[in-house]
Amino acid sequence: MAKTIDHLVGQVRENRVWRSIFRSGTGGSNLHRALFVQQNVFLHLFSIKARKRTLEFSATWYLGALTFGTFLILVITGILLMLYYHPSVPQAYADMKDLQFVVSSGVFLRNLHRWTAHAMVFLVFAHMFKVFYRGAYRTPREFNWVIGVVLLLVTLLLSYTGYLLPWDQLAFWAVTVGSNIASAVPLMGSKIRFLLLGGTAVNANALLRFYVLHCVILPLAAILFIAIHFWRIRKDGGIYPGESPVEGGAR
C-alpha cells in the first residue's frame, strides 16, 4: 500500500504539468532539498541550510516561529470573520450577536481570533526579550532588530484597531482611553486624534477607519516587514548561534 502511494506521488511529481509549476523536481538528494527551498518564491526567504545548534529549543524557544504561526491563524480566522461583519453602527454589534447565536461555530471563530491575538502580542514581547538576552541583536543583525521593533508596533496597532470592531462597551471605552492619549501630543495632538478617528469622538467614522486599518493596511504592512525580517535572517548569517564558537560569515 505504502509503496503504491509512493509510486503514485512519484508519478504526479514527475508529471509535466507539476514540473512546470514546481521547478525543483523530485529526488531525495540534498541537491533536491536545496532546490526545494531555493526555487520557491516564498521559501527562498530562508537559507538552504541551518546550523544544527540553532534548532535546539533553548536557542530560540521557537518564539519567532510561534509568532508567525499566530499571525497565520489570525489571517485565516480574520478573513472568515470578515464574511459576517459590517463595519457600521450599530450593525457591527448585531453581527457579534449573530456570530454568537446564528453563525455555525461563530463563537469559536471569534474566540480563536481574539485569544490568538492576545497570544501574538505576548509572543512578540517574549521574542523581543529572548533575542535581547541572547545578544542576537548585535552586528550584523542590528537592522533586523529595528525591523522587529517596527513589527512590534504594527502588532500593537493591529491588536488595538481590532479591539474597537465588536463595538461593545469594552471596545468603545478602551479605544476612547487610547485615542485621548493621542491628543496629548504637543501642538498637533487634536489633529492626530481627528485623523485617527475621522471625527472628534469615537463614532461610525472611527469604526470604518479602524476596520480599514485592521483588515487592509496593517496586515499588508505586517506581511511586508515579516518578509524582510525572515529574509534578513538568511542575509545576516542565519539564526544567531550563540557566543561561541566563532560565527561563520554572512552568506
Partner: protein, 234 residues
C-alpha cells in the same frame, strides 16, 4: 610545536555533508582557527518540519482555549455611559497606570516615545555591543554616577507618588549594588554571573520588571476611580 614547516594542511573529510576541502593555515599570517565547520542541516525538511510541529502544537493549545473560554462581549457601545474604570487593552495598562501619576504628555507621549527610541538604538549603542560587565572597569567613577542617577530618579518617582515604579527600581538597583560589591576574580555561581552583566542587561531587566509590574497592577489591582482593589475580592 617544533614543526619546521610554515603551514599546516587540514583535510575536512566529511564528504557526505560538505565538499572536500583543504585549508592551508600559515603560521604567520592566518587568523586563529578555533572551530571546525559547524554541523549544518537542510532547511527542508529539518527546519520547516520543526517549525510546523511547534506551530501546530501551539494552535492546538489555542483551539482548546477557544473551546473552553469565551471572548468577552459587553453591551452595545454607549457614549453616554462611561464604565468605571474604563480600561485600555491589557498591553497598554502599564501606560495607563503611569497616566494616573503623570500628565498625559509625559505618560502618553514622552515615555512611550523614549521607550521606542531606546529599543531602536539598542544595537547601535556602544555599551550594548561591548557586552562587558558593568563593574569590571572604572569601578569607582561608575559607582558614583550610578549612585547619583538612582537617587535622583528615586526622588523624582517619590515626588510624583509613583511607589509602584519605585519598588522595582530599588530591587534592581539592589542587585546592581550587589554586583558592584562582588569581586569578579573569586565570585562563583549567581554573584559571579551578576558581576559579568553589562549595563544594557541591567537597563533591559529594569524595563522588563517595570513593564510586568505596571501591567499587572493596571490589569488586576485597579478598580473604580483607578483605586486599589484586590482581584480576588472583585
Amino acid at each position: 610545536m617544533s614543526d619546521p614547516k610554515d603551514f599546516v594542511a587540514v583535510v575536512d573529510s566529511d564528504a557526505r555533508r560538505t565538499p572536500r576541502r583543504i585549508a592551508f593555515i600559515t603560521k604567520r599570517t592566518s587568523p586563529q582557527v578555533r572551530v571546525k565547520d559547524e554541523e549544518r542541516v537542510m532547511t527542508y525538511p529539518e527546519v520547516f518540519f520543526r517549525a510546523v510541529v511547534a506551530i501546530e502544537v501551539f494552535a492546538i493549545v489555542l483551539v482548546i482555549t477557544s473551546l473552553l473560554w469565551d471572548a468577552p462581549l459587553e453591551g452595545l457601545a454607549d457614549p453616554m455611559h462611561t464604565p468605571n474604570p474604563a480600561k485600555a487593552p491589557w498591553y497598554f495598562l502599564g501606560l495607563q497606570e503611569l497616566l494616573h501619576y503623570f500628565p498625559p504628555v509625559v505618560a502618553g507621549v514622552l515615555i512611550p516615545g523614549l521607550v521606542v527610541m531606546a529599543l531602536i538604538i539598542i544595537p547601535y549603542f556602544n555599551i550594548n555591543v561591548e557586552a562587558e560587565g558593568l563593574w569590571l572597569r572604572d569601578k569607582a567613577r561608575r559607582l558614583r554616577i550610578f549612585g547619583i542617577v538612582v537617587v535622583v530618579f528615586c526622588i523624582f518617582l517619590a515626588a510624583f507618588d509613583v511607589w509602584v515604579a519605585l519598588v522595582p527600581t530599588l530591587i534592581v538597583a539592589a542587585f546592581i549594588f550587589l554586583a558592584a560589591q562582588t569581586d569578579p576574580q573569586t565570585a562563583q555561581g549567581f554573584r559571579g554571573w551578576l558581576v559579568r552583566k553589562p549595563l544594557s542587561f541591567w537597563i533591559m531587566t529594569w524595563f522588563l520588571f517595570e513593564l510586568i509590574v505596571l501591567t499587572a497592577i493596571g490589569t488586576f489591582f485597579r478598580g473604580p476611580g483607578w483605586s486599589w482593589v484586590l482581584p480576588w475580592r472583585a
